[in-house]
Symmetry: C2
DNA sequence: AGGTACAATGTAACCGTTTACATTGCAGTT
DNA sequence: AACTGCAATGTAAACGGTTACATTGTACCT
C-alpha cells in the first residue's frame, strides 16, 4: 500500500512537498504538483484517512445518533444527511443510542474518542443531563428535536406547531367537528408536547372545549393507538374525530374502529401526523400532516458542516431551522356542517 | 483532554504499562492495573480511537454499502447490522454508493483509505469489475446479494428460490390457478433472476405452461408495477393471477386493477414478495413472502466479525448463509378449484 | 552464593500525515 | 556586488496510542 514517503522517493522531493501537492497548497509550483500527482496516480495512491485525521486532530466523519427504533422516518433522515455529507467529502456514521438508556454513555464516549468531526443528535427532548454533557464537548453538533424554546443550541425541527394547528383548524373550520379528541405522544417528547399545545390553542381560539377524557397520552406506537382509540370509542359521549399525534397511532385507531365495527369517517373520523408511506393505502386513505424529513436531514447536515467550517469564528447565534409542514387531505374525515 | 501520557505521569508508571493495563494485558499485576484504571477513571479518560486504530493499523468501523434508495428494507438491515457490531464494540458506517454509478469509486477509496476494518456490501449482482476490485482488497468483507452461485465469497442472501417456489406452488396447488403471470425485477439483479427461475421451475414441475407475454421484466418500482400490470390486464387472454417479484410492484398492480375497475382477487389475483409494512393494510391485504431482513443484517455482521477475528487463520471455505422465507397468506388470492 | 528463569515494567520505535520552522535559491533593489 | 524579500522546498517534530525489545527484580534451584 503506497504512502507519501514512497511517492516522495519516486518523485525525488520531500514528503512535505508531496503532502502539499496533494492538498492543493498554493506554495508548490504547478509543475511540481503535476509531477507529484502523476506519480501518485501511477501508484494508485489513496491517502490514509485515519492517519490524516490523526495528524490534523480532526475527523471527516459525522455521527448521526438515532434511537433504537426502526422507522421509515430514520431512513429518510439518514438519506438526507448522507447526501449532504457525501457532497462535502464527509462520511456519515449512524450510531444507535440503543434505547436511550445508553444515550449518555454513547454520547460520552463518542464525543471524546476523536472519531467524529461533528454530530447530529436526534433526541425527544433536551434535558438537564444532556445539557451537562453537551456543554463539555468541543465538537460541533446540531440537534434534531421537537423544537422547544432553547436558545442555546442549533436545532432543526419539523414545524410541529404549525402542522398540528393547521390540522386542528381544518377539522374545526372545514369539517365542522366540535367534539375532537387528541391522542398525544409521550409527555416528555417535545414534538408531542408542541402538537398538543397547538391543538389546544386552535381549539381555544375557536371556542371548542376539550373534555379531560378527550386527551389521551400515547407513545407513538400502533398498540397505544389501538388501546387509546378503543377507550375513546367506548366513551358514552364519544368524539366525532380523533387527532392522533402520529400516523402509527392513527393506524391503531383504524384497528380500534374496525374492532368496534365503526366506519371511518362516517362513525368516527381519524387524522394523523407524519404522512408515512402506508397512510395513502389505508382504507380510507388517511388525512394527515406531512413534512419533508429528508429535507430535515439535509438541513441539519448543512448547518453542521457550516459550523465545522466556521469553528474558529465562533460566537454566532445558534440557528433554529423549522421544516415546513403540509396538510394532506384524504378521506378519513368528512364535512359535517 | 487526558491521554495515556498524563495517566502515566500521575500513576508514576510508563505509558506502556498504562496501555497494557487499559487493554487487559495479563502482564501487569492486578494492583498496578487497578491503580492505573482508578486514575484513568478519575481523569475521565477515553482512549482516542483514531490514534489507536492508526497505531494498530486496524479499525473498529464496519462499513455498510447500500444503494441510493430509501427503503424500509435498508433500515431493517442497518438495525440488524448495528445491533451486532455494537455488541462487539464496533461502529457502523453507512455508505451510500450513490446510484451505483459510483460504486466502484466508492469501493476503491473506502477499501484503501484505512477507515474500515470490514465491509458489508449490498449489491444486485457480483460482476466482473466488482470481482476485480474485491480481489485486491485486504480488508474482510461479506456480500449481501441475491445468492447466485459464487463459490468465492461469503454471501448472505434471502432464500429467494425457496420463497418464490413456495409461493408458486401455493398458487398452483392451493388456489388452483393455471394462468399465472410474473413481473420480475431487473434481469441483472440476482434476487430477481432467482425468483424467476424458481417460478418457472415450479410451473414446469406442475405442467403449467407460461406464455411469453406472461413474463414481464420490471425494475422493482411501483411505476413498473402499474405499467406492466396494465399490460397484463389488457391481454385478451389475461392471467388469473400476477406474481410480482416484490410488494412494491404488487402495489402497482393494485393500482392497475383499480384503474381497470377489476376487483382483487375476484377478477385478478395479485401476490408479492418482501412483506413490506404496507402490505397488510392494502385492500385486500396482500399475500406475499416474508423474510427477516433484520436477521439478514445480523447474520452478515456476525459473519464479518468472525472473519475479522480469524483474519490470520485464513483459508476457510467461504460461507453461504440463506435467510429463510415464509409464506404470508392474506386475501389477495382465492381458491378457484 | 551464584545462576537461571520468568514476571513486571520501562524505553523507544513506529504507524502516515500535517505543519512549524529552517533552508535554499533567485529576482529585484541599491 | 551585496542585500532584501519571497517563493519553493526540505527537515523534523508532533499527533496518541501499541508493541518489540531491553531492563530490572525476585523466586527458585543447585
Amino acid at each position: 500500500m503506497p504512502n507519501i514517503k514512497e511517492i516522495a522517493r519516486k518523485a525525488k522531493v520531500s514528503v512535505a512537498t508531496v503532502s502539499r501537492a496533494l492538498n492543493d497548497d498554493p506554495k508548490v509550483t504547478p509543475e511540481t504538483k503535476k509531477m507529484v500527482l502523476k506519480i501518485a496516480d501511477e501508484l494508485n495512491y489513496r491517502p490514509n484517512i485515519v492517519a490524516r485525521n490523526f495528524a490534523k486532530k480532526t475527523s471527516n466523519i459525522i455521527g448521526l445518533i438515532l434511537p433504537d427504533i426502526t422507522d421509515e422516518f430514520f431512513s429518510e433522515l439518514i438519506k438526507g444527511v448522507d447526501e449532504v455529507t457525501y457532497q462535502h467529502n464527509y462520511f456519515t456514521m449512524v450510531i444507535s443510542s440503543h434505547r436511550y438508556l445508553q444515550l449518555e454513555n454513547t454520547l460520552n464516549s463518542v464525543l471524546r474518542n476523536g472519531l467524529l468531526g461533528g454530530l447530529i443528535l436526534l433526541v425527544p427532548n433536551i434535558g438537564k443531563n444532556l445539557k451537562q454533557i453537551l456543554s463539555q464537548t468541543k465538537i460541533p453538533f446540531v440537534i434534531i428535536s421537537g423544537g422547544m424554546h432553547t436558545t442555546d443550541y442549533d436545532v432543526v425541527s419539523v414545524d410541529n406547531y404549525q402542522g398540528a394547528y393547521d390540522m386542528t383548524i381544518y377539522l374545526i373550520k372545514k369539517c365542522g367537528y366540535k367534539k375532537i379528541a387528541h391522542i398525544s405522544g409521550p409527555s416528555e417528547n417535545d414534538d408531542a408536547k408542541i402538537r398538543v399545545k397547538a391543538f389546544k390553542d386552535a381549539c381555544r381560539e375557536n371556542d371548542i372545549t376539550i373534555p379531560n377524557n378527550f386527551l389521551a397520552e400515547g407513545d407513538f406506537t400502533r398498540e397505544a393507538g389501538v388501546r387509546l382509540g378503543m377507550e375513546l370509542l367506548n366513551l358514552k359521549n364519544k368524539p366525532e374525530v380523533i387527532f392522533a399525534a402520529n400516523d402509527m397511532m392513527a393506524l391503531g385507531c383504524y384497528d380500534a374502529a374496525a374492532k368496534k365495527g365503526l366506519s371511518i369517517p362516517d362513525d368516527i373520523a381519524v387524522v394523523g401526523f407524519d404522512n408515512i408511506f402506508v397512510s395513502q393505502y389505508l382504507n380510507p386513505p388517511l388525512t394527515t400532516v406531512s413534512a419533508q424529513i429528508e429535507d430535515e436531514g439535509k438541513k441539519a447536515a448543512e448547518l453542521l458542516i457550516e459550523k465545522i467550517k466556521n469553528k474558529n469564528s465562533s460566537g454566532n447565534q445558534p440557528k433554529k431551522i423549522k421544516i415546513a409542514t403540509e396538510l394532506v387531505i384524504r378521506h378519513s374525515t368528512k364535512s359535517i356542517k
